[in-house]
Structure formats: structure tokens, C-alpha cells
Symmetry: C2
Subunit: 282 residues, 2 copies
């Protein structure tokens, strides 16, 4: 059985509860799979082929759209907790007894929540550009950031502002990412709806309300890799350091001259760092 | 020409100014060399063979003893600045036009200082378990830490307290390191003198006096990899995060369940992370 590429992996569907989940499998069809959980408004089209295929060199990489997102049916819930429960339903429907999770941004909130409420199947956890419940400066954004983030049809300029630093190198990396992420042209998901955006926005705002003691974090017993850019304006970088200090078995990697989209800026380095983490004996 | 191992690399000497410097070359005798700068009281015997030979897979790894340390002649200076000037004298005597630096602890202070006062030959910089001039909580230690650090003949128990976490896994890694670092039994350096300890202690105390604006750090233009354990009681981990925020092209990696000696606890992972950093195109 040959490996699916990012471009040719067929969109598949599986029913769980009353939801019909859209998903794709990329890479080697064996080994402990890794499930990728995406950012605010993202569908499966928002991932970087360099990352999905890079990680797919030694494992099965599963993309999916959660309830109400992209081609998945249902109404997007407005809490991180319910999103986590829906993702667990999807994981169980696929019959996965053990898997790794990679959560980016909102996907990182959900990945933490899954690991806290259903730790057993989760072997290792990668948190990218994300923060803990009640983290630092996660409850409000400057106006120009909000404006770009809720633009009805997101354009390159929005991503360059929200995901990349202002250096020419970072901006160019952003344009390169934009090209890579549009390489898949058939069997693509519809963009998320404005309704989904509203529900996710509500979930993110509630997650960001300050005042947590982070007591949930030290219940995470899995090895965790925490990653971010040095200047993330969506989920401030200090939250990665904060999670590192509270999650017992965590390793922290922060990348230079980059923002929320650091993983799309340094996809090869990110893949190398994540593979080292996932493959090492502990 | 076959590569020298940690065990068999002969101690060599080179004169610079009025000093006769002891040094060794390990690994591949080509490529851009990396100079290792060691910790408080360390001689060349205090490095980990897994690290020196691991890095030596694709470059020449140079160990040396600075003025007054180990088998090197002269009187150990009592400022980081003079230690940096002496190291530069050694680098120039070897005729090295370009090199990488890896500074651990006190060696990291010196490596920063070299890079600030003589940036030209320095290609990339690895800072391990170290902090900036005037960093956080670097001016004083708890009594039991000081007592172990100045023990006239350092023993395993001192290293286990100072360099490793209190978990059984970390302590075992410490014992394993202790065995590795005693594998070389012939042509070894004498331990550093009490005089050297006093001078280095004075230099470290002066470096740690708080109140710096860290304005020197943003003059470092080289790519820098900053690394530490999650709970370093010698140079608190917060200083690694602090350097990361001030050095423009820096990447930060912090390791779980470890202290000052994280690199000796995770030598293979550290080698992998450092090689990725040194070998990558930028």
C-alpha cells in the first residue's frame, strides 16, 4: 500500500453519533498515527504539505474537520470542552486505541482538553502556537488583529499579518507557505462558515478568560513538546513558557523571528524537531 | 586521517602571549570547528564523550583549558572579560578564521563575551545552562548549593545535587554520566586549583550582579541556540528565556525533568538538537 500525499489523499467520511466527519490519511499507513487539530476557522486545506508529508515519513498523519467545520456535518459547538468530546467521538469511531496529537492554536486548546478528559489513548502530545486555559493575554486582541482574523474571505495579507513576523524573511516564508497550501486543487473542503467562526470565537474567548491556577496542566502525564514563534500575536509566546513550567514531562522549543505561523515558516525544522520527539525512546 | 575519540585524543599545547594552552581535537578533522567552553572548575575531563564524539561526527570538536585551568599555564583571571580575551588569544594562535562556540555555564558567559567583543570569527553560538550578564537570581546561591560547588575534591554526590533533578531517572542519568566522564584514564589533566576556583567564583559573582539592561545581547547577530534544563539551580532557567527574548536570531530549547547538567542527562538528544542547529542552511 503506497503512502498518500497531501495532494492526493482522498477525503473520507465516518459517522460518529449524529455527525459525519470528514478526514484524510497522509503518509505511511502504519505505526502509531498522529491526529492534527487545526486553528481558528481552519479546514484540512489549512495545513502545510511539507509538514503533513514530513511527519508522514514514519507514521500515518490524520487530518480531520471537527463538528460543523468544512465538509463535516453538524453545528460547531461553542466550547472547547464540547469540541474535545466530539474529537474523542471521532477518534473512537476510527477505532484508534493509541495515537499522538498535534494541536495548533485552537487545536492546541482542544488537544490539551482531550488529554485531560481522556488520557488513555494519547501517547504523546505536540502543542504548537497555543496556550493554557486562562493563559496570559489570551482574552483580547488589538483591533487590527481582530479585523484580519474575522475577514469573511481570508486573504494572503491577513495570514501575513496574523501568522508571520514583519521581517522580509518571515513575510517571504508566508508567501511560500500560501503557495504550498494551495497546491491541492481537487477534492477540497468548503471554507468554514461565518456561523462556525462565531462559535469558535466564543469558545476561544471563554478559554482565554484569565484567573486559572493551571492545575489541569500538571495532570498531563504524557511527554509533551511545546512549540511557538518568538513573537506570537494570536496566542502570546509567554503562554508556551507558562505551559512548559506546569506540564511535568514537557520540552519547549521556541523559534526565532516568527509568529503564530512559525511551523509554516520553518516547516522542515519543525518536522525534524517533532519527529525527534515522537521517535525517541523515553 | 582518522578521527580522534574522546578517550584517545592527545593533549596538545600551543603558546599564545605568555600562556601555554592545553587543548584536544576530537572528531572529524575537517569542517568548521566548534570550540567548547566548560563550567566552573571544569577541565577537559569534565565533558561528556557522548557529546564530544556526537558533535564530532561532522566537525572538529576542540576542547581547551583557559588560562590557569587544568594543564594550561598562567594565573586564572577573575573577570569574564579577561577570560574571553584569553580565549580569543587561543583561537587566534590556532589560526581559526571561523568557528562555532558552545559555552556551558561559566563557559556560556565567556562565549557571549567573545561574541560581543570579537564577533567576526564566530559563525554560530550554542549557549547551555547559562545566563546573561546581570541576569535573574544569578548573584547568590543557597548554602547547600555553595557548599557542594566549592567542595575541594568534587564527588559524584555533588554533581548529582548541582547538575541533576531529584527524580530517580535524572539521578540515574547523573550516575551514568559520571561513568562516561571517567572513561579516559591516561593523559588526563590535573584538577583545577583552589586558586582557580576563587578567581572563577569572583568572575561569576561579578557577572551575576543584577541591573543590566541586556543591551549587549541584541548586538549578537549570529544564530544562537539557547538550551537548559527546566529547573537549573546553578543558573536559573528563566535566564535562558530572558536571553531568548533579547538575542534576535535565537532558538530556545528547554528539556524536561532536568537541571544544570541537562546536556549530560540527554546527551543524544542534545547532540541531535545541536547538530540540527549547526548544520541547517539559514
Amino acid at each position: 500500500m503506497s503512502a498518500n500525499t497531501h495532494i492526493n489523499a482522498p477525503t473520507q467520511f465516518i459517522e460518529a453519533g449524529s455527525i459525519r466527519f470528514a478526514y484524510r490519511k497522509i503518509g505511511k499507513p502504519s505505526g502509531i498515527p498522529i491526529l492534527l487539530l487545526g486553528h481558528f476557522r481552519a479546514t484540512m486545506e489549512n495545513w502545510d504539505p511539507t509538514i503533513t508529508e514530513g511527519l508522514g515519513q514514519d507514521r500515518s498523519v490524520i487530518l480531520f474537520s471537527n463538528t460543523g467545520v468544512g465538509a463535516t456535518s453538524g453545528k460547531t459547538p461553542d466550547t472547547v470542552l464540547q469540541m474535545a468530546k466530539d474529537a474523542i467521538m471521532f477518534i473512537e469511531a476510527l477505532g484508534l486505541k493509541q495515537l499522538d496529537l498535534l494541536g495548533f492554536s485552537l487545536g492546541g486548546f482542544i488537544a490539551q482538553q482531550i488529554t485531560i478528559i481522556r488520557p488513555d489513548p494519547v501517547r504523546r502530545l505536540v502543542l504548537a502556537g497555543t496556550g493554557p486555559e486562562g493563559g496570559e493575554d489570551m482574552a483580547a486582541y488589538p483591533d487590527h488583529v481582530t479585523k484580519a482574523a474575522i475577514n469573511e474571505i481570508p486573504v494572503l495579507e491577513d495570514f501575513l499579518l496574523l501568522f508571520f513576523s514583519q521581517s522580509e524573511k518571515s513575510q517571504q516564508a508566508g508567501r511560500d507557505f500560501w503557495e504550498r497550501r494551495h497546491l491541492r486543487i481537487s477534492d477540497v473542503e468548503p471554507a468554514s462558515s461565518m456561523e462556525t467562526m462565531g462559535a469558535q470565537g466564543k469558545a476561544i474567548a471563554a478559554w482565554g478568560v484569565p484567573g486559572s491556577s493551571y492545575s489541569q496542566l500538571n495532570k498531563i502525564n504524557q511527554p509533551v513538546l511545546i512549540t511557538n514563534g518568538n513573537n506570537d500575536i494570536m496566542v502570546p509566546t509567554s503562554n508556551s513558557y507558562l505551559m512548559f513550567r506546569h506540564i511535568p514531562s514537557s520540552k519547549l522549543i521556541l523559534y526565532p523571528d516568527s509568529g503564530h505561523g512559525f511551523l509554516f515558516q520553518y516547516p522542515s525544522e519543525f518536522v525534524s524537531d517533532v519527529r525527534e520527539f515522537l521517535n525517541q525512546a523515553l
